[in-house]
C-alpha cells in the first residue's frame, strides 16, 4: 500500500500539485486510521491530506481513479463472493470475459454475448430509473465489452473508446426517455418549468452513465498497461498552467471559471498592498483621543490612511483569430480589477483599430462586454489579418495625446505582422510619453522572431516583453503592474 501511495504522490507531483513530504506522511497516517475498503472515505482522506487547493481536485480525481481503480475492483469482487449464489454466476461470466480479452484482440469474450443490445439498453434505463449503482456498473461493463473494441497495448487515454461506447448506447434517445419518465404522465408544455426540470434531471442521470463507462474503460486500461503509463497519457495541466492560445473548449471553460476568483483575489491583494505600502502622516487629533484611555500617555500613535496614486492603464489588444482568447482573458482580468486603477481604456485591433472602453461602461459583467467587442467593435479594415503597423499608427493618430506620464501601455499580441511594415516608431514615441510600455506575448519565447513574428522590432522600445501563456504568468504580470 505504501508503495502504491508513493507512486500516487509521484504522479500528483508530476501533474503539478505540490505535495510536501509532511503531507505524504499525513496521508500515510490517514490510511492507517481508515477502512481501506471504503472508497469514498479513502479518496476524501487522500484529498484532505494532500490537495490543498480546490482547483486541483479534477487532476487529483483523475489520478485517484487511475491508481486506485484496482482496489475498487478487488473490493467489488470480494463483495460478490460474499453475496448470494446468484451473484456468483455473473462474476464468473465477467471473469471469463476478462480472460478472453487478455487472450484475443478484445473482440469480447463469451460474456458480452449473453445480453442483446436491446436488453442492454433496457437494463440501462432500469438502472437509471431505480438509481441502482451496481446494475449501472454492470451495464457499463457489458457495454464496454460489446462496443469499445479495446485494443491491448495501445498507448491511449481512452477518449476514443469512450466515444465509441457512448455512441452505441445512444444517449440522446436515453435522455428523451428519461425526460418523459421524470416529467410524469400527461402532456408537458414546452418551455414550462416542469419540462426544464425534467430535462436537467435526465441530463444528470445521463452524466452518470458517462462516468460509469469512463470508470470502466479506465479500469480496463490500467489492467492493460499499468497505472503509471495510463496516468501519463491522460495527464492534464492545472487550470493556471493551461496554455491559453491552444486551449480546448473544456479548458477554456475551466479558465473562465478560474478567472472570477482570481480577479477577486487580485483586487483584494492589490488594495491591501496599496493601503499597507507606506503609512500616511501622523493623525494628531486621533492620537490624542486614543491617549485618553492610557491616562494621557500617547502609547499608540495613529496615522492617517495613505492615498497613493493609482496607475492608469491603456490596453491595446490584437483580437485576430490566433490570439483572440488570450486578448479576451487579459481584458477580462484587467477590467475585473479596474477599481485598482485610476482609469482603464482598452483598444482592440486586427488591421483596423477601435476603442472598446465604451463596452465596459455601465456594464457590471465584463464577460458581456468582451462578447460585445467580438461582435460590435470595428476592427477589420481590409482582410482581417493582423497588421500591427497600421493599428499602431491609427492609435498614435487618434489617442497618443491622451497618453501621459501616469499611463502604462500594454500591448497584447504575438507580433505576427503578416509581413506588413512594423512602424516601430510609434512605440518609441509612446515610450517617451508614458510611464511604461509593456508587450505581452502569448507565444512561447522560443517561437519569437520565427516566420512573420517581429517581436525584436518592437522590443527595444518596450520596458519589458513578457511571455504570457498561462493564467499564472498573467496574474504575476498584472500583480506587479498595479
Amino acid at each position: 500500500m505504501l508503495d502504491l501511495l508513493g507512486e500516487f504522490v509521484a504522479e500528483l507531483r508530476a501533474a503539478g500539485i505540490p505535495v510536501s513530504t509532511t503531507e505524504h506522511l499525513d496521508a500515510a497516517r490517514a490510511l492507517v486510521a481508515i477502512d481501506l475498503l471504503d472508497r469514498p472515505v479513502m479518496k476524501a482522506a487522500l484529498a484532505a491530506t494532500m490537495v490543498k487547493d480546490e482547483a486541483h481536485y479534477p487532476v487529483f480525481d483523475t489520478a485517484f481513479e487511475i491508481y486506485f481503480a484496482m482496489i475498487d475492483a478487488a473490493a467489488t469482487d470480494a463483495d460478490g463472493e460474499l453475496d448470494a449464489l446468484e451473484e456468483a454466476s455473473r462474476e464468473q461470466g465477467r471473469a471469463d470475459g476478462q480472460r478472453g480479452r487478455g487472450r484475443s484482440q478484445g473482440r469480447g469474450g463469451g460474456a458480452s454475448g449473453d445480453v442483446s443490445a436491446e436488453e442492454l439498453a433496457a437494463m440501462l434505463v432500469r438502472a437509471l430509473l431505480e438509481r441502482d449503482e451496481a446494475l449501472l456498473a454492470d451495464v457499463a461493463r457489458q457495454a464496454v465489452n460489446r462496443y469499445a473494441g479495446l485494443e491491448p497495448g495501445r498507448p491511449v487515454g481512452g477518449t476514443y473508446y469512450l466515444y465509441r461506447t457512448l455512441r452505441n448506447l445512444d444517449l440522446d434517445r436515453l435522455q428523451r426517455m428519461l425526460e418523459q419518465a421524470a416529467a410524469g404522465q400527461g402532456p408537458v408544455a414546452p418551455g414550462s418549468l416542469t419540462e426544464r426540470l425534467a430535462r436537467d434531471e435526465a441530463a444528470a442521470r445521463v452524466e452518470l452513465v458517462k462516468r460509469a463507462v469512463e470508470a470502466e474503460i479506465r479500469r480496463r486500461l490500467v489492467e492493460d498497461r499499468g497505472a503509471a503509463a495510463l496516468a501519463r497519457s491522460v495527464r492534464k495541466p492545472l487550470p493556471e498552467d493551461i496554455d491559453v492560445m491552444h486551449a480546448t473548449r473544456d479548458e477554456l471553460a475551466q479558465l473562465n471559471r478560474a478567472l472570477v476568483p482570481l480577479s477577486r483575489k487580485m483586487a483584494v491583494r492589490l488594495a491591501r498592498k496599496r493601503r499597507k505600502g507606506h503609512r500616511g502622516s501622523l493623525d494628531l487629533r486621533r492620537t490624542v483621543r486614543h491617549s485618553m484611555s492610557t491616562g494621557g500617555v500617547p502609547i499608540t500613535p495613529v496615522f492617517k490612511p495613505p492615498r497613493p496614486a493609482k496607475p492608469e492603464i491603456f490596453v491595446i489588444a490584437d483580437v485576430s483569430g490566433s490570439v483572440a482568447s488570450f486578448a479576451r482573458f487579459t481584458l477580462l482580468l484587467v477590467h475585473a480589477i479596474s477599481s485598482q486603477f485610476r482609469k482603464v481604456r482598452s483598444f482592440v485591433f486586427v488591421d483596423g483599430l477601435d476603442e472598446a472602453t465604451r463596452f465596459f461602461e455601465n456594464q457590471s459583467d465584463p464577460a458581456v462586454a468582451v462578447n460585445r467587442i467580438n461582435t460590435e467593435a470595428d476592427v477589420v479594415w481590409v482582410d482581417g489579418h493582423s497588421d500591427y503597423g497600421r493599428a499602431l499608427t491609427l492609435f498614435h493618430e487618434r489617442f497618443a495625446q491622451d497618453v501621459s506620464r501616469r499611463t502604462s501601455v500594454l500591448v497584447l499580441g504575438d507580433a505576427r505582422n503578416n509581413y506588413h511594415a512594423p512602424e516601430a516608431w510609434v512605440l518609441a514615441d509612446l515610450r517617451a510619453r508614458a510611464r511604461a510600455v509593456y508587450w505581452l506575448n502569448p507565444e512561447p519565447r522560443s517561437y519569437w522572431d520565427s516566420g512573420d513574428s517581429i517581436v525584436s522590432a518592437y522590443a527595444p522600445y518596450c520596458n519589458d516583453v513578457v511571455e504570457c501563456r498561462t493564467l499564472r504568468q498573467l496574474e504575476h504580470f498584472v500583480g506587479a503592474l498595479a
Partner: protein, 309 residues
Amino acid sequence: MTPHDQVTDPLGLDHVRAPRFDSPDEVGAALAANRYLADASIASAVFLADRLIKPVLVEGPAGTGKTQLAKTVAEALGARLIRLQCYEGLDESKALYEWNYRKQLLRIQAGQSGEDAHVDWHELEGDIFSSEFLLTRPLLEAISATEPVVLLVDEVDRVEVETEALLLEILSEYQVSIPELGTVTATQLPMVFLTSNNTRELSEALKRRCLYLHIGYPDVERERAIVLSRVPGVTSALATRIAEVVRTLRGLDLRKAPSVSETLDWARTLVILGRSELGEQDVAETLHVLLKYQSDIDKATKELLGKPA
C-alpha cells in the same frame, strides 16, 4: 509513534484521550443528529482531524455551511465553541492575549499614593505581570481551557500573512509563549476549524499544517435532505422540487449562484406562504429570495419559465 503521542509527549500530557469518533460514519451520524448532513468528504475530514490531531481548513463558496460545521461539531461533542473572527488588522493583542494596561497603570498609581508609598519595584513588577492583569483572547482561551473546546478561526483569509504566522505555533504545538509569564501549554487538545472564503492565497506553511476540506454545493439528493431536516413543515414533494430548481439555477451562468442558506430561506418562505407544491407562479414571485442580482433574476426567469420577466 502515533500522531497523538507526537503532540502530547512534548506537552507532558500523559493521559491519553480516547479518540472522539470511531469511524467517519459515526461522525456523520453524530452530525446528522444535530441536523447537519455531512457527505463522505466532510465526515472523513472531521474524523481525520480527530485522529491525526490536525486543524481542518474549510474552504468553499459563501453559505454552504463552513461555520455551521464547526458549530455542529461542538454541539455534537458537547464542547464549548470558542470563535475567533478574523479581520484585516487583527493582531496578537486581539487574537492571543493582551496586558491590561489601564489596570496596570491603576495599580502603579495606587502604589504611589496611599500609605505603602514605596513598594519594592520587583514585587510590583511581579504583581502587574501576573495573570490577573492578563486579558485572554480566543486563541489563549482555547489553549488554557480545561473543559473540551472547539476552536473556530473564522475567515482566516482576512488577516495579513504576518498574522497568519501567529497561528502556526498554536496549531502545531498547542502552546503559547508569553515572555513575562512563560509558556502556556494546553491541558487538552481542542479541535480546530479554520474557514476561508478564498479572497487570498493562504501561506503554504499554514496549508501544510491543516487538513483541507472544500465544501461545495451539495447534489440534489443531499440538498433535498438538508431542506427536509432544517425546514419544519416542508413536504417531501416540495423539497424535491426546490432542490431541482436550485440545481438548474446553479447550472446557469449566474453572477451569484444560490447558496444552501439561500435555498433554506427560500424553502422557509414557501412554507410560510403555505405552499405544498411549487408552481410556476410561485417561482416567479419568490425568485428574489434566491437570487440577489436583477440581471440574474431576469436570466433565471427566462430560462426556467421560458418568458422574459
